[in-house]
């Protein structure tokens, strides 16, 4: 049930290359963070893993199968087993939070059950428990356009909790949250993944958060993997090579990481 890319390249219609010869593999239950400057191809990498982009070259394995060799229905079934969480979850403004969260159950539901749930929410307790992970249980019956940006992002994550996905592909999952909330939200996601035995691949722009919460870090730059190392081996040299002088901007610096952040930052000043 591994998920892997082997010598994968992705080109966009304009001709720009977003990923170049990327080879990477994730064991079931593994949790890894992708870091790198903006425009490095983090989102493209996640979309390729999520069967949303078909690469020009190379082989994709998602949860043990090659998605692009499947029949259309089977491919769709595979998509139902993963969850690709975009940075800003696209929620219809007038939809209520409860339906936005329960939309994560759609792959498991029949069309009939999905319609019934719009009349009266069928798995209310699931939705509330999922929201509870992110301290949003009181927003259950609010409309999405009444939420702040950070609350919307957490509703998107609650949808992931409500789904039964075995592969979490998180694109900047906590970018709109303050440092303390970001910490606890990531904690909840990781705990849930562990409980399910699900694989987590998350792109993060906050390097210190990635260092604090993930044991494996993948550095991506200009569509290529610069390093793929356990946390202990990621040091100043790797980070400076990855970010260059931008490094100082890549810290969110929650209190407990401040010392480390400052230490790394001093090197590039």
């Amino acid at each position: 049930m591994t998920t892997a890319l082997s010598a994968v390249s992705v080109r966009y219609p304009g001709g720009a290359t977003a990923l170049r010869n990327v080879t990477v593999s994730f064991a079931p239950g593994e949790q890894a963070a992708i870091i790198g400057p903006s425009g490095a191809g983090k989102t493209t990498l996640l979309h390729t893993l999520g069967c949303a982009i078909r690469p020009a070259d190379g082989e994709v394995t998602v949860l043990g199968t090659d998605p692009w060799n499947l029949l259309r229905n089977d491919l769709h079934g595979l998509r139902g087993r993963l969850f690709l969480a975009p940075q800003a979850p696209p929620l219809p403004p007038r939809q209520r939070v409860v339906h936005a969260v329960l939309a994560g159950r759609l792959p498991k539901w029949s069309a009939w059950r999905a319609l019934r749930s719009l009349v009266y929410p069928v798995e209310l307790e699931t939705a509330r428990a999922a929201l509870g992970r992110f301290r949003l249980e009181d927003k259950l019956f609010l409309r999405c356009d009444r939420l702040s940006g950070g609350e919307r992002q957490r509703v998107g994550l609650a949808r992931l909790i409500a789904s039964e996905a075995e592969l979490f592909l998180l694109d900047e999952p906590v970018s709109s949250l303050d440092p303390a909330l970001a910490q606890s939200a990531l904690e909840s996601l990781q705990a849930e993944a562990q409980a399910r035995g699900a694989t987590v691949v998350a792109s993060l722009h906050a390097v210190d958060l990635a260092l604090a919460r993930f044991s494996r870090l993948i550095g991506l730059k200009d569509g290529e993997i610069l390093f793929d190392l356990p946390r202990a081996q990621v040091g100043e040299r790797e980070l400076v090579a990855l970010y260059g002088p931008e490094l100082c901007n890549s810290f969110q610096a929650p209190p407990e990481n401040q010392e480390q952040a400052l230490k790394i930052c001093r090197t590039c000043l």
Binding site: A52, H76, G80, P89, P90, L106, A111, A114
Partner: protein, 256 residues
């Protein structure tokens, strides 16, 4: 500058010539309109409307006619909303380019023929009465709403739908959980807008025998019962303004 002036002058000349031609076509019987005799006749005709008729039996009939008109406009709009939504899906290009072309053609055809002409045709098929009027309203309004709904569906941001599809939701479920809530406010305001138009149309469709207040008006005018006709006219104006007010209230409560 002179070129522009010349063009403007030519356009003005063409416009005046067109106007003159139009007037020339019609002068034949307009001249008599301004005679003293015609003025007296018109004044007498107008005076015949006063006072509007009353009487319990007549007012009861009038109330029934008003309700009939209301029911026609409401049912017609409702049927058209349902049919329009079904037609809007192919017309928004969701079922392929062939279905899109065919459904747009059909919608344009339904829309191009006015309600009253549809009513005259439907009366031949379904017989005299409000049912024909309801169908005629529904047919024409389906064309209008289908086109508007299709545009709303085309202009809606696709991200929420794509997001659900990417995570394995079915086509039907993804539509109801993303696209539909996105377009719902717009669909509702289009429906209300058409209801306001349809109450006006329903009031006059009866002229070709399709029931409601229009039929009463036509009946009384044909018998030169002008006072009865005056009451029917008042009922029409009242009904239309009531529907406008109701629709306005719903609209305000919706946008909150």
């Amino acid at each position: 500058m002179t070129g522009l002036n010349l063009r403007a002058l030519a356009a003005l000349g063409a416009f005046l010539a067109f106007l003159a031609a139009c007037i020339a076509t019609l002068t034949g019987d307009t001249a008599g309109l301004f005679s003293r005799e015609a003025a007296v006749r018109m004044f007498d005709f107008a005076r015949g409307f006063w006072p509007p008729a009353g009487g319990t039996a007549f007012l009861q009939k009038l109330a029934l006619g008003s309700l009939e008109t209301l029911a026609m406009s409401w049912l017609g709009t409702l049927l058209a909303a349902a049919a329009g939504l079904v037609m809007a899906l192919p017309a928004a290009g969701r079922w392929g380019i062939v279905a899109k072309g065919a459904s747009r053609l059909l919608l344009n055809g339904l829309r191009a023929v006015p309600e009253l002409v549809w009513a005259a045709l439907v009366v031949i098929a379904a017989g005299l009465g409000p049912f024909s009027g309801t169908l005629a309203l529904a047919i024409h309004t389906t064309g209008v709403l289908g086109r508007l709904f299709a545009e709303a569906l085309e202009n809606v941001p696709a991200d929420p739908y794509l997001g659900l599809r990417r995570n394995g939701a079915g086509v039907v479920a993804a539509f109801w959980y993303s696209t539909f809530p996105q377009v719902l406010p717009q669909l509702a305001s289009y429906i209300l807008y058409r209801w306001e138009i349809n109450i006006r149309a329903a009031a006059v469709l009866g002229v070709v025998g399709a029931g409601g207040l229009g039929q009463m008006l036509y009946f009384h005018l044909s018998l030169f019962q002008l006072q009865d006709a005056a009451s029917v006219l008042l009922a029409m104006v009242l009904l239309v303004s009531l529907v406008d007010a109701a629709s306005n209230r719903v609209r305000i409560s919706m946008t909150r």
